[in-house]
């Protein structure tokens, strides 16, 4: 008989999930934010993105082919996601050579030395961003002022959070609509909360991530900010505006939805995810309110990344039939 019989233990069926599909879905989920960024900051956004993705993929390819001399797995798209996320954490007008250095740190320091995909402790894109923030503070914090016409003028404006830190902002008058749609300054991926939420909805729909981490991060920030506002401000309108400001400003949305949910560097159980998310939210707010930096999302995620192995060790899922 002209048959080859295949034999293996069960199961003999497989879901549609694959690493490349999941990574591809993350890229798709980031597209609305990318489109808004191009609209707000102009074509330089695409240049930064292209350089970042190309450097990450090329570097991973070179390391796998010539250093590790193992299989080349760039087609699983994980380096594309790293490159895209790194780019979205940078100002739109950053010199391209700095982007390349960021890619080297992300892939060459934070990812491959730990053993490549699945083995790294820290989120590669964030590790790179924080490195750049410390190494090139001027270039990393000169954000172009957004222009809804699609042009970017040379003036480097402060971000909303930066302004709030310097008490320049009259909280009562800040532009909620602008923060939603993208008419604010900042790293280019974080400008539109609406676009990022759209991406979140897509990720949930495709079952790429669960709601636990983003909701825990943003919920904790909201609670934290509400309590703070309740103590600090007498004007009751601030009690709502202040938390809203913190959820929409800076990297809150980008961090909670796309950075904190990085599979490799986040916990394995839903209980663990909630603990991790609460930690990120609380640390972010502490840094924002009392730290030296206006924004604390990156640091908070990296700090909680380092706690993930501990969370995985001690936080177990609820076993079926466990005696209460």
């Amino acid at each position: 008989m002209a048959n080859r019989f295949f034999v293996s233990p069960a199961p003999h069926a497989h879901s549609d999930y694959s690493t490349s599909r999941l990574m591809g879905d993350v890229v798709i989920a980031l597209l609305p934010a990318l489109v808004v960024s191009v609209r707000v900051f102009g074509w330089s956004v695409l240049a930064v993105t292209a350089v970042s993705i190309a450097s990450c993929v090329l570097l991973e390819f070179l390391v796998q082919k010539y250093l590790v001399k193992g299989p080349v797995t760039v087609n699983n798209l994980s380096a594309v996601v790293t490159g895209l996320l790194l780019a979205m954490n940078l100002p739109a007008n950053i010199p391209l050579w700095i982007v390349v250095i960021g890619a080297i740190v992300a892939i060459g320091v934070a990812k491959m030395p730990f053993g490549g995909l699945g083995k790294n402790i820290f989120n590669p894109a964030l590790a790179a961003r924080v490195f750049l923030l410390i190494a090139y503070p001027v270039q990393m914090t000169s954000f172009p002022t957004p222009s809804v016409e699609g042009f970017t003028d040379a003036y480097s404006g402060a971000t909303m959070l930066g302004a709030a830190k310097g008490h320049l902002v009259d909280f009562a008058s800040f532009d909620v609509a602008g923060m939603f749609t993208g008419a604010i300054g900042g790293s280019f991926g974080e400008v539109s909360a609406l676009a990022l939420l759209l991406g979140f909805a897509y990720l949930l729909m495709r079952r790429v991530i669960t709601w636990h981490i983003p909701v825990a991060v943003l919920g904790t920030m909201a609670v934290f900010a509400t309590i703070f506002a309740g103590i600090r401000f007498e004007d009751p309108s601030m009690h709502l505006l202040f938390p809203l400001f913190h959820l929409l400003a800076g990297g809150a949305m980008l961090g909670a939805i796309f950075m904190a949910t990085d599979y490799v560097t986040s916990p394995m159980t839903t209980k663990g995810m909630v603990i991790y998310g609460i930690g990120i939210g609380a640390i972010t707010m502490c840094i924002r309110l009392w730290g030296a930096y206006p924004e604390g999302m990156s640091f908070a995620i990296l700090i909680m990344n380092s706690v993930v192995p501990l969370i995985n060790k001690y936080v177990k899922p609820k076993r079926f039939g466990a005696v209460k």
């Binding site: 002209a2 295949f6 003999h12 069926a13 999930y17 797995t73 699983n76 699945g118 159980t269 039939g321």
Partner: protein, 446 residues
């Protein structure tokens, strides 16, 4: 809609190919091989020898001890051998070979179609008849039914659950049985209730079989002792512990606890029909409905097949195997066993033959774990498959025991969902068997 509390996956059910085919009677084979081990527990002991003449329904192998089951001749003819023969995996195992002569049945068996609803036997007598008929769980686990019905001292059954879930993709044998043998199923259910002394039973059926739910409900009518419960279509809804939790809300604790510890006894729908036939018609378990299906099967069918019929005969009846790469599975794609020898005889636990071709016959290429946590999310027992498989690779048996490996029901949800195609269950199964061995050895020492 009711469902089990943790985990689960949603594979495409692929029942469309065979669900519309009414049960057909498979032609009688000329020669059958009857394995002595068709059930969980000790293999039966052959009581016939070469040259003996047998009739359909005659006892040919006796249960060896309590945890075992009788085996009866599925065809009439002459015993030509009691010897080692290759099984589905190509391993040699004791089988009784019978060459068919005509189709002569044991006279005690009532072969009429008349429905006999009345049963006034004592529980003990019912269980005795079920034991004599060699009935085992027909959903695939092949646990001897009389053992299940013998409630241990100090325990009390409160509810009977009939498993008509058939959550395994592709298979439709229980579905067709519920549709075409519904009356017998309901009588069988009442007999089982009587045997274990309960006054209520629930028949659990997945929501992808609404016509089966409606049909059974119509037969039950206004009677309140049996409830037909529609359950969410979600794998593994038909897992014994999952079904009990979905129906009663009670969770069976980790092994060695049994369903009876939460007052439940679960029997498969086809088993209930077999119980009806055994108790009311004196018919031992000699045949069953086998679904033959798959995307490349020309005519998928549900075949009422005598045990011992070679699987290849069923496949030939359904249009034969397509050329090229194939995987022939005894059972469904989630928990079935791949066959290397399709001359394997159909046995008591064989609910279907699923055929995968081309790429579907092969496994995906394994890549690194990305810690996506989908296996943890999918595990219906609340375990951590990624961790257990890693520990099994490192032979960290103590750690696996501490992480409750013995609770694993081997449903395959973890491996099904894994985007990196990691053979999680291979390692988890290996670890589970090793740890169970270690536990047994430890208990022996005590």
């Amino acid at each position: 809609m009711k469902t089990f509390p943790i985990g689960g996956v949603h594979p495409s059910d692929n029942k469309q190919w065979s669900k519309g085919s009414a049960i057909e009677i498979m032609e009688l084979p000329d020669v059958v091989n009857i394995p002595l081990a068709q059930h969980i527990g000790a293999p039966a002991t052959a009581i016939v020898k070469k040259g003996d003449k047998v009739v359909v329904g005659q006892l040919i192998a006796e249960a060896t001890g309590f945890m075992s089951a009788n085996i009866h001749a599925p065809i009439s003819g002459t015993v030509t051998a009691v010897d080692l023969q290759p099984n589905g995996q190509g391993l040699r195992q004791m089988m009784i070979t019978i060459k068919r002569e005509d189709d002569i049945w044991d006279e005690a068996i009532d072969r009429s179609e008349t429905l006999v609803s009345e049963c006034n036997l004592e529980p003990k007598a019912i269980i005795e008849k079920i034991k004599a008929a060699g009935i085992v769980g027909m959903g695939g686990a092949t646990f001897p039914t009389h053992v299940k019905l013998s409630i241990p001292e100090g325990k009390k059954a409160e509810i009977l659950i009939i498993n008509g879930v058939e959550c395994e993709p592709y298979l439709t044998s229980d579905y067709r049985t519920m549709l075409e043998r519904g009356e017998q199923l309901i009588v069988g259910t009442r007999i089982l209730m009587r045997a274990i002394g309960v006054t209520n039973a629930v028949i659990g059926v997945e929501a992808n079989k609404p016509d089966a739910v409606a049909h059974l409900q119509k037969i039950v009518g206004t009677a309140t002792d049996i409830k037909v419960q529609m359950l969410k279509t979600q794998y593994p809804q038909g897992g014994e512990k999952q079904l009990i939790a979905a129906v009663t809300g009670r969770q069976v604790p980790a092994p060695p606890a049994l369903p009876i510890d939460v007052g439940a006894v679960v029997c498969n729908a086809s088993t209930a029909v077999a119980v009806y036939e055994a108790v009311q018609k004196n018919k031992p378990l000699i045949e069953r409905v086998v679904t033959v299906t798959g995307a490349a099967v020309a005519q998928p069918k549900n075949l009422l097949t005598r045990f011992g019929t070679p699987v290849e005969a069923l496949i030939a009846k359904c249009g034969g195997l397509a050329e090229g790469d194939v995987k022939v599975i005894n059972g469904g794609p989630m928990m079935g066993r791949a066959l290397s020898n399709i001359a394997m005889p159909v046995m008591k636990g064989c609910s279907g033959i699923t055929i995968m071709v081309g790429q579907m016959a092969k496994r995906g290429v394994e890549s690194p774990c990305i810690k996506c946590a989908k296996c943890v999310e999918a595990c219906p027992m609340g375990l951590e498959p990624y961790l257990l498989s890693k520990q099994a690779r490192k032979k960290a048996w103590d750690a696996m025991e501490a992480n409750d490996i013995t609770s694993c029901i081997e449903c395959g949800c973890c491996q099904f969902t894994c985007p990196a195609n990691i053979p999680l269950l291979d390692f988890v199964r290996l670890g589970k068997q090793t740890v169970m061995g270690i536990i047994r050895a430890r208990n022996m020492k005590k």
